[in-house]
Symmetry: C2
């Protein structure tokens, strides 16, 4: 059998997908070298797992099915990739422990997918309840977590009841936190419906909500019991949201595998045009990188922080612009360019790398510069409440070389200032071109 | 050197306390047999620790100092026992990681102890903030956790900042939950100020708040980084609160060491009259039992539930009477008698055991019967939302024999009903005596 991606420019570890044939399940072990963050403080050698991620072609069916196993310290769980999987009772059955299930979703997703998920779960013989939250980052708040708990209490959910997050990162983060704390923790299953949630937020167990004074400030490390990925749901996702997810896909290449970045350079239009094979490949690869990093550092004592490339700058943009104005992935895109720019100014990478990152993001219709209204002062204000500040010291994720990110506070503050001022300068010099690079998003 | 308690009727494993002399530190390993819950589902043999608790006489000082080490899966931490310890900077220094500390306490405790703790911590060179909550179980709620988070944000606490819980179980539970979720977890230190908090709630990492529809329904398993016990603080505790703590002390004897129960029978008046030696002994023993159980089953997948002897009945009493009317320890006292009564009706223990439990609790001025107003119907309503209900099945902690508790759902419901009705019957027969056994607490 030939690899589905035999002709793609992907890295050599590509795993053949079991498609439309009856091969026996096979287990492939991910080579740790695919993601080799040697610059980063690792756990002591004795506690390093040989591999935190294994990949198995699931029981063959007529469709492409894929299972990736995440091996975090606190829990092992599968990520299932399969089209149409969210409407099949068998999908959910193994993860239902008690006799009650609560699906949490939002008012946009409910009319699209709630009924099929609800019917699939009800067919397993349990009582299924739902709570439909309003749609938006501003509802990722304590009030709505509290509302989920009210519904749990009202229907007398217990320790074995399961919470299902059906939605993007907002629903996933909120539901995960609700699940972590209801009766001190009930099982929960992620059913991500945005590309960003599939490749990033639903895997790895970071859950949480925003505080009025800062994003994701309240939460828990709480791994799901399963992640169920049905790429069909992406069909209804709008282009801007899709692009925001592509930013996170590209991120993995930048932080831990430059060959995957190069694959993105070659295939970014296929991702934007929702080519199913390219999308499936990007999703699986992204989840592998994420799972591998999480398996080495679940609680972000070191390595895991590299996943936040561009996020400190990005959070400052999001917060300063008012949440919802720039999408998370858009802010991260501009933030990643800033992190590259700063790394180049530190002499760690060539500015050519920054240009390539900019170019591929722009081709995915993502912004590559911060909005001009986010001044140095505003950046500094918002960055100082970032979770990556410790005892007053700001740590940033920067690039030591293409495909190798590090967490560091070892930089002159002046270089950070210069980096931010660079964009203010660019805007002053040529407001017209500058706006192009922010893609007409609110300034 | 002779044991401080050489003449006490305590079990043979008593560890000599290093008092007023200059002995070298010694480490004693607790014999697992002191708490031998053989009836209870244990973790698989291979993962059983040889001992989860070690006990060390700390560096000798002029005063009695004691350190017990808790070895939970998620964290190892010390419990320090020493008079006057809360006003010494050296106490806190080892546990302060960042440059900011937030003390959470309440309006009763603040005037008594806040200044000394604050000064001690400030002397270590960090910024110390405080938040003083109103006093009462009704403030163990999401609103007040949210208030703690607001203060954390306002003072820009970060991942290395430390939260200190200075108070009883209410402050400890609330602060612990706040600490578990602020930036997904900051270090926290328990400084328990009630006997109940010292012997029970501050050790073991159960944190949480009440939901309007049920007690302790929202929370996290989150171990403190240290527990600091200064028995001096008990001097200001009122008698009723002290008795509530004694109930939990007696509980340990009933659930896991009948010899310790017998020690309580012989010494209960010494505890009620605040005899320092008896109190210190009871505190240390209680923490050993708790730490040992927690080290075997941190997340309450089995064994740990025995700590809740009397709690399911007790919660129903507390909830039905309105929180604050009966104290937690009082409700647990009556609940433990009910659990014994039910165990005797199941033929597992003799009714003589129930009488002895009743008698020792009554000597500690604790109620030994539920209030007559909590009818069968009310018991069943409140017990059905208890966290020990799983998939609709109520599990109770009952006694298989004196000193051996089990978690079980293997009982005829009729025996549960009969047990509850027994008290209704007693009340009907002789309201006067009955009221005596509830000690004039609200009916
Ligand atoms: N937990 C983590 O590790 C992690 C990582 C990255 C981001 N995040 C968080 O994730 C959030 C962003 O997630 P997101 O980008 O998925 O945003 P989102 O959840 O707000 O979803 C984006 C929009 O798409 C809609 N939508 C979702 N699925 C759809 C579908 N299939 N069809 C049509 N519309 C659909 C949503 O209703 C919403 O309007 C942020 O809060 C961010 O902090 C968390
Ligand atoms: N986390 C656990 O494992 C666990 C275990 C048992 C109980 N609990 C919880 O603990 C709570 C009960 O704790 P509690 O009995 O300590 O009650 P509490 O915290 O309400 O304290 C009792 C009263 O004593 C006052 N007080 C505290 N210390 C004092 C002192 N040194 N001097 C004078 N007054 C003082 C308090 O202000 C309060 O009015 C309940 O909410 C219960 O659910 C938790």
């Amino acid at each position: 059998m030939t690899s589905l991606y035999a002709n793609a420019m992907g890295p050599s570890f590509i795993v053949p997908l079991a498609m439309n044939n009856r091969r026996q399940p096979e287990v492939f072990t991910l080579r740790r070298s695919l993601c080799d963050p040697t610059h980063v403080r690792r756990r002591s050698r004795s506690s390093l797992k040989t591999s935190g991620v294994t990949m198995a072609a699931a029981t063959p069916t007529a469709q492409c099915e894929y299972t990736l196993h995440v091996d975090a310290d606190s829990r092992k769980y599968p990520i299932l990739f399969s089209e149409g999987v969210i409407s099949k009772p068998d999908t959910f059955k193994p993860f239902i422990t008690g006799d009650k299930v609560l699906i949490v979703t939002n008012s946009t997703i409910a009319p699209l997918y709630l009924n099929q998920v609800k019917s699939a779960i009800a067919a397993t013989g349990v009582s299924v309840f739902d709570v439909v939250l309003p749609d938006g980052e501003e509802y990722k708040s304590l009030d709505y977590v509290s509302q989920i708990w009210d519904v749990c209490m009202e229907h007398r959910l217990d320790r074995k009841s399961v919470l299902i997050a059906l939605g993007g990162g907002v629903i996933g983060d909120t539901t995960g936190f609700a699940a972590s704390a209801f009766v001190r923790g009930v099982p929960f299953v992620q059913v991500p419906t945005t590309l960003l949630a599939i490749v990033d937020s639903s895997v790895g167990g970071k859950t949480g909500i925003n505080h009025p004074m800062g994003k994701n400030m309240i939460g828990a490390f709480y791994q799901p019991h399963a992640v169920i990925v049905d790429s069909n749901v992406l069909k209804t996702l709008d282009d801007r949201q899709l692009a925001a997810g592509i930013a996170e896909v590209i991120k993995y290449g930048i932080i831990c595998d430059w060959r995957f970045f190069e694959w993105c350079e070659q295939n970014v239009e296929r991702l934007s045009s929702r080519d199913p094979d390219a999308t499936q490949y990007a999703m699986i690869q992204s989840c592998k990188y994420k799972a591998d990093i999480v398996s080495q550092d679940e609680k972000e004592s070191g390595l895991r922080a590299i996943l936040n490339l561009g996020h400190t700058f990005g959070h400052a943009i999001e917060a300063s612009m008012g949440y919802g104005s720039w999408l998370h992935g858009e802010a991260v895109a501009a933030g990643m360019v800033m992190a590259c720019e700063m790394s180049a100014r530190l002499g760690w990478i060539s500015s050519d790398v920054t240009r390539r990152v900019e170019a591929v993001l722009a081709r995915a219709s993502l912004p590559t510069r911060p909005p001009p209204s986010v001044t140095l002062e505003r950046f500094m204000t918002y960055m100082s409440v970032d979770k990556k500040v410790e005892a007053g010291v700001l740590r940033l994720i920067l690039l030591k070389e293409p495909g190798k990110a590090i967490v560091t506070s070892d930089f002159p503050e002046s270089i950070l200032f210069d980096t931010i001022m660079h964009y203010q300068q660019l805007y002053k010099e040529s407001p017209g071109t500058y706006e192009h690079a922010t893609l007409g998003l609110p300034k």
